[in-house]
């Protein structure tokens, strides 16, 4: 008893404490549940906020022009008009050509950047040559110069080269992009040197090493560069506006923008055209999301 008493004595408070504590997990569980509900409502509101304009654009592209801006508004098309997509191609001047122009120039620029950005990036990452550090510092330093400073001189240069309003204009201006050279440089620095060292011993020249050994290893970085260059060039509006002059040389973005000022009230065609303009990027984004996301996180580019 003399032993049991202290035990009982200590036991009692423990039980009491447990009884006191027991309701607590319940309330935290309840607040957790409440918190989760509040959370999902918040996430839902943000999702609607960021996504509704797209959803409405896609739905609107199947409506008649009048119904797009009808008052009171409709959510779903009262009658679906998939032929809007056909009409964009047939009723708007040069639209098919503009889709082609966008793809053609974008793919040329992507190909040039995949090769040259990797080549220059490899030199900065692995080779020792005069003025290397100076050039690298210049490349980084000039990235902050606002693009508007370059428009006049580049326009005059292209004019003298006879490249204004030709397919050559944008590939000449964008055959390398410092941001993606940097991305490639950082990637090449991160891969082990052993394979290249073995290739040096085998007497493969530097270009052979670059082309046969290093490029196959660079797939992730090349994909990031390719996807981001594709997105940038396909979505580009300003350069096309400045360096292209006739509607048969426009890309789809510039085409849409001018189309809008000509066909003010054709909301059905404007909406369908917008969906077509976003489609290639959407496909590239969904297919290459991993690389896209990583590329943006490391270069800060859209």
């Amino acid at each position: 008893m003399s032993i049991a008493t202290p035990l009982a004595g200590t036991n009692a408070p423990i039980v009491a404490a447990e009884e006191e504590r027991r309701p607590q997990p319940d309330t935290t569980e309840r607040t957790n549940q409440l918190e989760a509900v509040v959370r999902y409502i918040l996430y839902g509101i943000i999702t609607l906020f960021l996504f509704i304009p797209f959803a409405m654009t896609v739905l609107s592209s199947f409506k008649t022009s009048a119904e797009v801006i009808a008052f009171p508004p409709t959510l779903l098309p009262s009658v679906w008009h998939p032929e809007n997509y056909l009409r964009v191609f047939t009723e708007t001047q040069n639209f098919p050509r503009q889709v082609f122009n966008g793809f053609f120039v974008t793919l040329i620029v992507v190909a040039l950047n995949l090769f040259f950005d990797a080549l220059v990036g490899y030199a900065f990452a692995r080779l020792e040559f005069p003025f290397k550090n100076l050039l690298f510092a210049l490349m980084i330093g000039t990235m902050v110069i606002p693009g508007f400073v370059f428009f006049v001189p580049r326009f005059i240069m292209l004019q003298h080269a006879g490249l204004i309003n030709t397919y050559g204009a944008l590939p000449v201006l964008y055959f390398v992009q410092p941001a993606y050279i940097l991305l490639m440089t950082q990637f090449f620095k991160s891969i082990p040197k052993e394979l290249e060292e073995a290739a040096i011993m085998d007497g493969l020249g530097w270009f052979g090493i670059f082309w046969k050994i290093v490029m196959p290893l660079a797939r992730p970085a090349l994909l990031a560069t390719g996807i981001l260059t594709f997105a940038g060039m396909w979505n580009n509006f300003l350069d096309w506006l400045i360096y292209m002059q006739t509607s048969n040389m426009f890309n789809i973005q510039l085409g849409l923008a001018t189309f809008r000022s000509v066909y003010q009230n054709q909301w059905d065609l404007i909406m369908a055209g917008s969906v077509i303009a976003i489609l290639p990027i959407l496909i590239v984004y969904v297919a290459g999301q991993r690389y896209f996301v990583r590329g943006i996180a490391t270069t800060g580019l859209k």
Binding site: I46, T57, F71, V149, F155, I156, W206, I278, G300
Partner: protein, 313 residues
């Protein structure tokens, strides 16, 4: 225009271990110079050359078609303060940039913090939240022409909440500039969200756990742990925001043409008008572009000072 953070000078190309034989070293030097030649070409002609040319033009009364372009010294620059359009455009641009940079940075950080949790459906939210950033400026402008239409999406949604209005936002001197601000915050924040998210994932969990042990709540953790540790990314986002906001053009061109009554006239749009629409104003356009460049450069440096931090990656 593609731009990258000015924080990058911290990264310098590492020298390679010296090769044993000088023949190999010479071969490497040759290969290096050859490989880097495309960039040198780009730099000399399209960057340094173009920049020098822009400054040269800014000292002249220049016209794209004229045979004689007389030297005018600093006149194009000195006349800017007396140029009503330029001052109006600069005022609009500064107002626009201040609002947009602050709000889009805050919104992007909020989105990233919300996604940096173990919530179910995280990938779904990340993908859908990012969509405003994948569309082109033109498509976004088209969508918002519809959103801001007197009987468009915005007024329809307001109608659901009992607010019945048919304001034509883009034709209103009060609403046009805020409307473009809102559109740009909406479309740019998700890009910066991804950058913040990458930064958040680098913050060790232990620091949060330590803060929790010290009794820090969610807000306290955000202010005392997250924001200080994210300073390098905040600097990056603010710099990129400044560079972008001061050059806002596409949406103005497509949606308002600088109107109504110059309410959305921005410096970038004015430069475009002086370049291609007015005559004999190319020199002025270059002076405006160089001035804009200096302002952006100065503000980027200033934001680095304010956020004052050693950037390391």
């Amino acid at each position: 225009m593609a731009t990258l953070a000015p924080q990058a000078p911290a990264i310098t190309a590492e020298p390679r271990t010296k090769p044993k034989r000088s023949g190999m070293a010479a071969a490497q030097r040759r290969a290096g110079l050859l490989f880097v030649a495309p960039y040198v070409l780009f730099f000399v002609i399209l960057q340094a050359g173009a920049f020098g040319f822009a400054i040269w033009v800014s000292f002249h009364h220049y016209d794209l078609l004229a045979l004689d372009n007389p030297f005018v010294g600093l006149r194009n620059y000195l006349r800017l303060p007396a140029n009503a359009d330029f001052m109006k455009a600069m005022g609009n641009t500064v107002e626009y940039a201040v609002v947009v940079v602050i709000l889009q940075t805050a919104f992007a950080l909020l989105l990233a913090v919300l996604l940096d949790t173990k919530i179910k459906g995280r990938n779904f939210f990340r993908s859908t939240w990012y969509t405003p950033s994948i569309a082109s400026s033109v498509v976004i402008s088209m969508i918002f022409l519809y959103v801001y239409h007197p009987t468009g999406l915005l007024n329809s949604i307001l109608g659901v909440f009992g607010i019945h209005t048919t304001i034509a936002y883009l034709q209103s001197t009060t609403w046009a500039l805020p409307a473009i601000m809102f559109l740009n915050i909406w479309t740019t924040a998700p890009t910066f969200m991804l950058m913040f998210l990458a930064g958040l994932q680098d913050i060790p969990r232990e620091i949060y756990e330590a803060a929790e042990v010290d009794g820090a709540g969610a807000v306290r953790k955000l202010l005392s742990v997250t924001i200080p540790l994210l300073r390098p990314i905040i600097f990056l986002v603010v710099s990129l925001g400044i560079i972008g906001a001061f050059q806002v053009f596409d949406q103005v061109f497509i949606m308002t043409n600088g109107g109504p009554l110059k309410a959305t006239l921005t410096v970038a749009y004015l430069i475009y008008l002086n370049l291609f629409k007015d005559t004999g104003t190319v020199g002025i356009a270059c002076a405006e572009a160089v001035t804009l460049g200096l302002i952006i450069f100065g503000l980027t440096l200033l934001s680095r000072r304010v956020i004052d931090t050693k950037i390391e990656y």
